[in-house]
Amino acid sequence: MNPIVRWFHQLGSPPYFERFAARWAPIAYGIGLLVMAYGLYGALFVVPADYQQGDSFRILYIHVPSAWMSMAVFGLMAVYAAIALVWRIKLCEILAMACAPIGAAFTLITLATGSIWGKPMWGTWWDWDPRLTTELILLFLYLGVIGLYNAIDDRRNAARAAGLLAIVGVALLPVIHYSVTWWNSLHQGQTIRLFGQSHMDPSMLPPLWAMVIGTHVWFVGSLLARARADNLRRESGKDWVARLAEPRT
């Protein structure tokens, strides 16, 4: 058997995953933090102020990576859910459900930073801009998945039901985005776009890429940590978990 395939099979074994996650989560957190620190330093101190928006545009360096993560995590969650539903792999159920709170957090950050950005720019905390509105609905989708997962007693059925919802959500997300964009265009006076010009000067890009990479690595750490916790909770009756809890001699 191909070593990669074999590693995947091994990963599905709960004790192996526990060891894998325990080892790699802190590493991912650490690297993610370092890269994000570098990115934030660049965003706050190195990059020159925007000629139109002044210094307040710098929040973009948190807002944009968060927005991308909120979408990417939803897509990843749907992929894990699809694998879990078709092949009934328990680890994928755990991973899918672990994605949800992280994605929801990124969505909240996107909404909050978008709102903070909007206030000095357009004088208002909230605007029914198509992107912000879609983010808000995305937040509801995440909350729905989390809510459904917590509402069903049997953990495996809960994960599969919430996973099905995630798949339906991911299929509808482009439709939602398109519909909100169309709706927005119907109503006059909506000439302001929250993102300003669509091109950024090349000197402004490196910290953005650093933030994007940093958030991705941080996400991996967070996913592994949450999945590890869920894995232990599900296996809590077993001997190998009890042995882990014993004090080391």
């Binding site: 049997d154 495996r156 599900r234 296996e235 009756g237 077993k238 001997d239 190998w240």
Partner: protein, 228 residues
């Protein structure tokens, strides 16, 4: 299909002299939340046979029946019907399941319920809802709303539905529940007649107080113990 089946079973024509068991299970196991419920089990039921599944409450009898019916998916092992791996399509023609819930609408009359269930599952050739009700002792109750029937009468109505079903294999979960002595005898008579016609039945009970007086084998389920 090669069921041992006279003309009473519409979907299954030819009678073959040597044939595989109507139902067979190999290595069947089921766990919920990683707690084993039953298994691994090996057993089979031939046409003309009844299998009595015994066990205390919580031993997994209902779960076993639901796995055999196809409502739950087993964690390991396989179920074969007439020698072929049981798919949903095969089960839908071969198996009739009578569970704890009666699947009767309380706002409809007894006859209306039977009409619907026959429309859904199909009907055994030569049998009509009217005479099925007479067989189970509910003649005269055709136009009574199910809401007005007693628990025992509802159970008899479920048995009437079972009688009308065109499936050779009956899975009965606690069929004697809510029935008086007359009702218990009814169940036994029906199982006997069904077996004579070439069908088979799997019944669960938590006591040995009632069992069909036919070629019956026993399967005892003990409460499974969690292991590492």
């Amino acid at each position: 299909m090669r069921f041992f089946a006279p003309a009473a079973w519409p979907a299954m024509p030819d009678f073959e002299p040597s044939h595989p068991p109507l139902l067979s299970a190999r290595g069947l196991a089921f766990a919920r939340n990683d707690q084993p419920v039953f298994g691994p089990l090996d057993f089979s039921v031939d046409a003309g046979e009844a299998l009595l599944v015994q066990g205390d409450n919580g031993a997994g009898k209902t779960t076993l029946l639901r796995v055999l019916a196809g409502l739950l998916r087993a964690d390991s092992g396989e179920v074969s019907i007439d020698g072929r791996i049981a798919t949903a399509a095969l089960r839908s023609h071969a198996v009739s399941y009578m569970g704890h819930l009666p699947a009767l609408k309380s706002d409809l009359t007894a006859l209306e319920n039977l009409d619907f269930l026959c429309g859904l599952h199909g009907r055994r050739r030569g049998q009509l809802p009217g005479n099925a009700m007479a067989i189970v002792g509910l003649a005269g109750y055709e136009d009574t709303l199910v809401r007005q029937l007693s628990a025992g009468q509802k159970r008899r109505l479920s048995l009437a539905r079972l009688w009308l079903a065109p499936s050779p294999l009956w899975l009965l979960d606690e069929p004697y529940a809510n029935l008086d002595l007359d009702g218990i005898n009814l169940v036994n008579r029906m199982v006997q007649a069904h077996l004579r016609d070439g069908g088979a039945a799997l019944l669960t009970t938590h006591g040995a107080y009632a069992a069909p007086p036919v070629r019956t084998r026993m399967l005892a389920l003990e409460r499974a113990v969690a292991s590492a």
